[in-house]
């Protein structure tokens, strides 16, 4: 849990750090309001860089409206990308390739997400997250008895370091509680992303593509530019978040799926899939994502803290530092308790005037 909080801290600022390290670039400013380059030209350029690989997705970034990102892989439905290119959305010019699997931030990310162990690692960390939620709840249950004789925020600086850390543990724990609970629960939901999306793929997506199930494999894929134009027409007032190419698990063998996002803070997080016939480039169906996918999509910003510009990220980091102190002081108190409790139990008869609470037990242990 401490590892999750420690590695999470730099990850809050991963966009800013990547940018500062020169791993990402903003498209250069252009003098006049330029048009938009054709996506067909962009994927042609991407394929020229990796002639053997397949385009999996074209992705938009709301923070970089003048860029398109092309994700490529060995095969179209591979889990791991082979390259991530950025193109200028106005001129179609190649901007940069984002380095995969090599930066320090990537090590942080893997330690935070899967301990370099893939889905089992992610699910293990999800279980750790559940234990964290349980320990938060148990901390709240203990807070009442501990604070029975102490005004809110009392920190006994002048007594033993154990009491000081106990008080700081209680203070930081109760102050950050709601934030810590929200980040933990949404983190656990995020660990289920792969099972949630595969459930969606075998459920709603399979249902939408069912009429095409027995059709022969595609010979030629329609223009992706045409597909995106069709998606915009099918989802008015929305913009493209990403489009999955035919053969990808997010699209199915005979379709593109364009995931459209709304313009408000809330609707920009909730995507709407538009199914596009990959032969004709025409939109054939749209759907509302089921609730369990929406819950996942909403849990992402609430975990990352990336939905209220830089000041929110800074607060996220400060709250994370307080959470690290809660965990570290909890660990310290637990180790201390283990080392003194035996003698304490031997030497100190229970004090009958005081109700036997955790606090009185701690006081006994401390004076022993």
């Amino acid at each position: 849990m401490l590892l999750l909080c420690l590695t999470g801290l730099p990850l809050i600022f991963s966009d800013e750090i990547d940018h500062a390290l020169g791993l990402t670039l903003s498209p250069p400013p252009l003098p006049e309001a330029a048009g938009r380059a054709s996506l067909d030209d962009i994927i042609t350029a991407a394929k020229q860089r990796r002639p053997v690989d397949a385009v999996q997705f074209i992705v938009a970034d709301p923070d970089e409206p003048d860029a398109w990102f092309v994700r490529m892989a060995k095969i179209v439905n591979a889990d791991e990308p082979s390259a991530f290119y950025a193109f200028d959305a106005r001129t179609g010019a190649y901007l940069y390739e984002y380095p995969l699997n090599q930066s320090v931030m990537n090590i942080m990310l893997r330690l935070h997400v899967d301990l370099f162990a893939g889905l089992p690692g992610t699910l293990f960390l999800g279980f750790m997250g559940l234990l964290l939620v349980a320990s938060l709840v148990s901390g709240v249950v203990l807070y009442g008895p501990f604070m029975r004789k102490l005004a809110f925020g009392t920190v006994r600086h002048n007594q033993s370091s154990r009491l000081k850390w106990l008080d700081l543990h209680n203070l930081f724990g109760i102050a950050t509680l709601v934030w810590f609970l929200v980040v933990s629960v949404t983190g656990v939901i995020n660990t289920l992303a792969i099972p949630i999306f595969s459930q969606w793929q075998s459920g709603q997506l399979a249902g939408m593509t069912a009429p095409y199930r027995n059709m022969p494999p595609l010979e030629k894929i329609a223009s992706v530019q045409k597909a995106v134009v069709a998606a915009y027409a099918a989802a008015p007032d929305m913009s493209l978040s990403f489009i999955a190419f035919p053969g990808n698990n997010f699209a199915g063998p005979h379709h593109f799926v364009a995931f459209m996002q709304g313009g408000s803070p809330l609707t920009s997080k909730l995507l709407k899939p538009v199914l596009i016939d990959a032969q004709t480039g025409l939109a054939v169906a749209t759907a509302e994502l089921p609730l369990y996918v929406k819950a996942l999509l909403l849990s992402k910003p609430l975990h990352f803290g990336n939905y209220g510009s830089l000041p929110l990220k800074v607060l996220w980091a400060l709250l994370d530092i307080l959470a690290i102190k809660v965990l570290a002081s909890g660990l310290y108190l637990w180790l201390k308790k283990r080392s003194v409790s035996f003698e304490a139990r031997q030497g100190m008869p229970p004090n009958e005037k005081e109700p036997v609470t955790c606090r009185s037990a701690v006081k006994q242990a401390d004076s022993a």
Partner: protein, 58 residues
């Protein structure tokens, strides 16, 4: 022996901090601009309270 505090005395500040944190977490999710400002102010409250009581010498 000091007086025992009532449940209300123990829990009023934690509950208030919980509500403020929650409204901060939600505000920026629903509203641009003003929502962000509300979330910055609201989430600064638990941080400020924690730091204030931690450094204060009683």
């Amino acid at each position: 022996m000091k007086m025992q505090l009532t449940g209300k005395q123990i829990w009023s500040v934690p509950i208030a901090l919980g509500f403020i944190s929650a409204s901060g977490l939600i505000a920026a999710l629903f509203f641009d601009g003003i929502g962000n400002v509300i979330s910055w102010i609201a989430l600064a409250v638990p941080v400020a309270v924690a730091v204030w009581y931690a450094v204060r010498q009683a």
